[in-house]
């Protein structure tokens, strides 16, 4: 085996039955993990299933487990993750596997809706556009979380999600936090109710895997801490 050949172990199958298959892939300069997976699919095994779209870190569809760590594969150089010229690639953790590297994202997106991660508008098209002060404290809090690309890396990294299937997870809760701080969103009560339930923000153990692994360097753990503060203030104000 020459050093310009990478040993790539890829998890195949579904949640019901999975196995690992090893492929030899030629190494190139500036090769990403996604390039490696694509090479296998295009040159060795066309039945290999995986998901990608933009290839530039914007769409959030190509996340996978690389050597046991969730990563956006289109922006991860293979040279940075190789161990003894080998790499293990698997589907995202904490989500059902449909086939090979493709997971069912439904639970992840359903929880965004459960966390009221949807716009709660009060104005109509006939109302004037509300001016937004970009320097306001709440706007700064909201801005800190709005670059989320829904890649589910944080959801896969979270050990609380792994142990508690009801837990809404870091991405959905961070979305709830940005909306809570958004002057154009009128859903304060429904958001605080949604994140106070049995799968809500209070299940977070602040282990910070979400913040550690977020490829966009966002900080969902602090967003969740913000939700805990706001719900606690409301608890003392009204007793529930």
């Amino acid at each position: 085996m020459s050093l310009d050949v990478i040993q790539v172990a890829i998890q195949r199958g579904s949640s019901k039955a999975s196995y690992q298959e090893t492929f030899e892939v030629p190494a190139y300069d500036s090769q990403t993990v996604l390039d490696v997976v694509s090479w296998v699919q295009q040159n060795t095994d066309p039945t290999l299933s995986y998901r990608f779209a933009c290839r530039v870190g914007m769409c959030g569809s190509c996340a996978m487990m690389v050597n046991g760590v969730p990563r956006w594969t289109c922006r991860t150089h293979i040279s940075k993750v190789l161990l003894d010229n080998k790499v293990e690639i698997a589907p995202l953790r904490n989500l059902p596997v449909i086939k090979d590297l493709v997971v069912d994202m439904d639970p992840f997106f359903d929880k965004w809706v459960e966390a009221e991660g949807v716009h709660h508008g009060a104005l109509t098209r006939h109302d004037p556009i509300a001016p937004i002060d970009e320097t306001a404290t709440k706007r700064v809090e909201a801005n800190a979380g709005i670059e989320c690309i829904n890649c589910s890396v944080c959801y896969s990294a979270c050990d609380t999600v792994a142990g508690n299937e009801d837990y809404l997870g870091p991405a959905a809760l961070q979305r709830a936090w940005t909306l809570l701080n958004d002057a154009k969103d009128e859903g304060r009560t429904v958001i605080l109710d949604a994140v106070s339930g049995k799968g809500g923000c209070h299940n977070c153990h602040s282990m910070s895997s979400c913040t550690t692994y977020c490829p966009n360097e966002l900080d969902p753990m602090s967003a969740i801490a913000g939700l805990k503060r706001e719900t606690a203030k409301r608890f003392f104000a009204r007793g529930s």
């Binding site: 142990g163 837990y167 809500g200 209070h202 608890f235 529930s240």
Partner: protein, 110 residues
């Protein structure tokens, strides 16, 4: 699994216990350092409303706090859920309370 009510119950009992733990440690160190005998300790605690309230509050807070904590472990590591989880939480809370309350009663008003 942990909603706002359980979360707040656990945090408020933690706040309550923080000074009580320090008080308890201070009492233990004092009792050991000073060589206070069992009779002397009981002489001070029996009939004392202050000690009853101190350790009574401690026991109640510990029972609530501990039961919610173990509930989380049972759910996340043991996959216990639903009615079984509620029953386990109540049983642990009640068990801790009875054990502690029996001891407090024994050294104060029994």
């Amino acid at each position: 699994m942990l909603d706002i009510r359980l979360y707040m119950a656990q945090r408020i009992t933690a706040l309550l216990m923080a000074p009580l733990v320090l008080g308890h440690l201070a009492v233990m160190i004092y009792a050991v350092q000073g060589g206070v005998s069992t009779e002397e300790i009981l002489g001070r605690t029996q009939g004392s409303v202050a000690w009853f309230l101190f350790y009574g509050t401690f026991v109640m807070a510990a029972a609530i706090h501990g039961a919610i904590g173990v509930r989380t472990v049972l759910h996340e590591w043991g996959d216990v859920k639903g009615v079984a989880l509620t029953v386990a939480t109540l049983a642990i809370g009640l068990g801790l309370f009875l054990l502690g309350a029996r001891a407090v009663w024994a050294v104060t008003f029994a």
